[in-house]
Structure formats: structure tokens, C-alpha cells
Symmetry: C2
Subunit: 154 residues, 2 copies
DNA sequence: TGCAATTAAATCGCGCGCCATATAATTGAG
DNA sequence: CTCAATTATATGGCGCGCGATTTAATTGCA
């Protein structure tokens, strides 16, 4: 089955990121969350970030607290609806985008694939993920993810 | 980049396994370890299992303890070299192989792919993992994984 | 309006993964 | 033969992920 291949390739990928992210003091999941924030024009909510990454608040909340401790983001309750938390980048958090700009090229090189092959593989893996997600998720036949949720392009 | 696609597809895949593995009382990583043991003719060492799954003893040891508590495996020190631990299946552990036999077909169906497409994707993802692994790992230009280590075919 | 449903985050528990380190057994150079 | 290196496993700490539950705010229906 393809499952172990995915599993181990994902671990290998995270290991490939490690030497690039260590100098920035962030982990790969933190890099993903920051990528979502870097791409967003306005502050995002916890569930907005989680929706983009298919993660829920029990994963995102503690991660955001670590990013906040690191001085990269701030969190404030939405004054119009106190249930929600707006997550915004600090100046330091925005600056990190520049310091991280080289990373995707470095990873691209580590894959040893050309742009076309990578693009094809990306599409196939994304579609597989999408099918597995709808195959598992709640019985409500998901009408594809809500359009308001951003795509992650890391 | 393909990275997030891999990351989220892997999570989706593990979610797809969950309803199938829950009745057996095991997790996906435990299923992987058991798959390695099911495929082996003789008892394996901790590093033998870890080598097959690209995991080290700090991950495998506690997982094996849980499998041992569940009565699925037993661990004994190799009398000829007390540093090593031989991991063997119990009868219960062997019986579980039968109860798990349907799982790969169920997952195959959830992928929505035909055998050929899945085979191709499997090969490409495996090769990507392999390249990322050698790109990251120790400076010694790895001469491909030691032939004595089994392949995982889950 | 009143109050039960719903919604958004947060919290808790647990099982990974992995780094760094520790412990114990074996090997090998001198 | 000795003792420093090496090897195999185990342990501790930390950051995910996720199920289950909790807390707090908002909504909507009677």
C-alpha cells in the first residue's frame, strides 16, 4: 500500500526542513501556520488557520501560544464576537517571512525532481488526500471545502 | 510545494485507518510494527523493526511496551548478546493478522484509485522519500539501505 | 424576552517522533 | 588482558495531533 510510503516520506520531508527551520527557531507545523498568516491580508481566527491546515483548535491553540511566546504572533479576542480569537503577525513575525524565503527552493532541490514532475506529484497527492478526507469524514457528503478557507501553497 | 500535500494526505490516511484499527485496539504506527513482525519469519530486534520503518529506539521501545501490555508481543534479551532485544509475536498477536487482513482492501477502496495508478503513485512517493532521506541524512553518501532490512509492504 | 442549541476556543489525556543523553554489553587496539 | 570506543536499547523532555470534554459567547426559536 501507498500508506507507509506517504508516512515515511512525510517524516523524511520534515527532517529535510529541520536544518532550515532550526536557525529560525520554529518547527514545521509552526512554519505551516506562519505560511498561512504570511499569505493572509487580514488577521485570521484559530479555526481559519485550522481549516486551511486541516487541524483543529486542540492542535492550533497550543502552537499559537508558543508562537506568541516567541514573539511572532499576537492573539486578541474579536470585540464583536468574543468567542473568536484574531491571530496577527508581529513585526518580528513578518520579518521572519524574509528569512524563510529561501526554504522552499532548498527543499525543492532536495527532492531531486524537476518542476513538472513535482507539480504532477503534488496534484496527485493532494487529490489522494482530498479523497481520503471525504471518505473518512462525517456522513454529510462534503460539498468540497468551504471556499472562504485559503489554500496553503507552501 | 508538495510538502503540505504530503503532510495532510498522511494525516488523512491515518484518519482513514482509524475506524478500521480502533476495533483491533491498535494505532497506525502499532499496525506498522505488527506488519513488520507478521512478515518476518524470525523474531526481530528493536533496531530491525526501526530500520524497516525509519524510526529509532526512542519511538519503538515505548510502542513495543504498549504492544506487550496489550499481549500482542513479547520481548526477550538475546542470550548471546544481552544488548539486543528479540521481539516476537504472541499467539494473540499472530491471530490479529487475520482480523486485520481486510484492512488494506478497505483503504484501497477509500483511495478511489485503480491498482495501476496507486502503484505508480506508490513508487513516486517512495522514491521521493528515499531522496529526501539521503539528502538529509549523515554526510556518508548512503549506499542504499542495508539489504538485510525488510521492506514494509503495508 | 428566555433559554436551549449552537459555535469558537481552550483544556486534558495519550500516543507518537525525535533529540539528547544514559545505561549496559561487547569489541578491539595496544 | 585492559580499558577506551562502539553498539543496542532505554529514558527524559518537548512539540505535535486528535478524541473527548469544558468554558464562554452568541443565536434563534417559542
Amino acid at each position: 500500500m501507498i500508506c507507509f510510503a506517504l508516512y515515511s516520506a512525510t517524516h523524511a520531508m520534515q527532517q529535510a526542513y529541520r536544518p532550515l527551520l532550526d536557525p529560525l527557531g520554529i518547527t514545521y507545523p509552526q512554519y505551516l501556520v506562519l505560511s498561512v498568516l504570511w499569505a493572509a491580508e487580514a488577521p485570521l481566527t484559530v479555526s481559519g488557520i485550522g481549516g486551511a491546515l486541516y487541524l483543529d483548535s486542540s492542535t492550533i491553540t497550543p502552537l499559537l501560544k508558543r508562537l506568541e511566546t516567541a514573539g511572532l504572533v499576537v492573539r486578541n479576542r474579536n470585540p464583536h464576537d468574543e468567542r473568536m480569537v484574531h491571530v496577527s503577525l508581529t513585526d518580528t513575525g513578518r520579518e521572519l517571512k524574509v528569512r524563510a524565503a529561501h526554504i522552499s527552493v532548498c527543499i525543492f532541490e532536495k527532492t531531486g525532481l524537476d518542476v513538472d514532475a513535482l507539480e504532477r506529484l503534488h496534484t496527485e497527492v493532494s487529490e489522494l488526500g482530498e479523497r481520503l478526507r471525504t471518505a473518512s469524514k462525517p456522513e454529510l457528503q462534503t460539498a468540497s471545502r468551504d471556499a472562504s478557507i485559503q489554500k496553503v501553497t507552501t
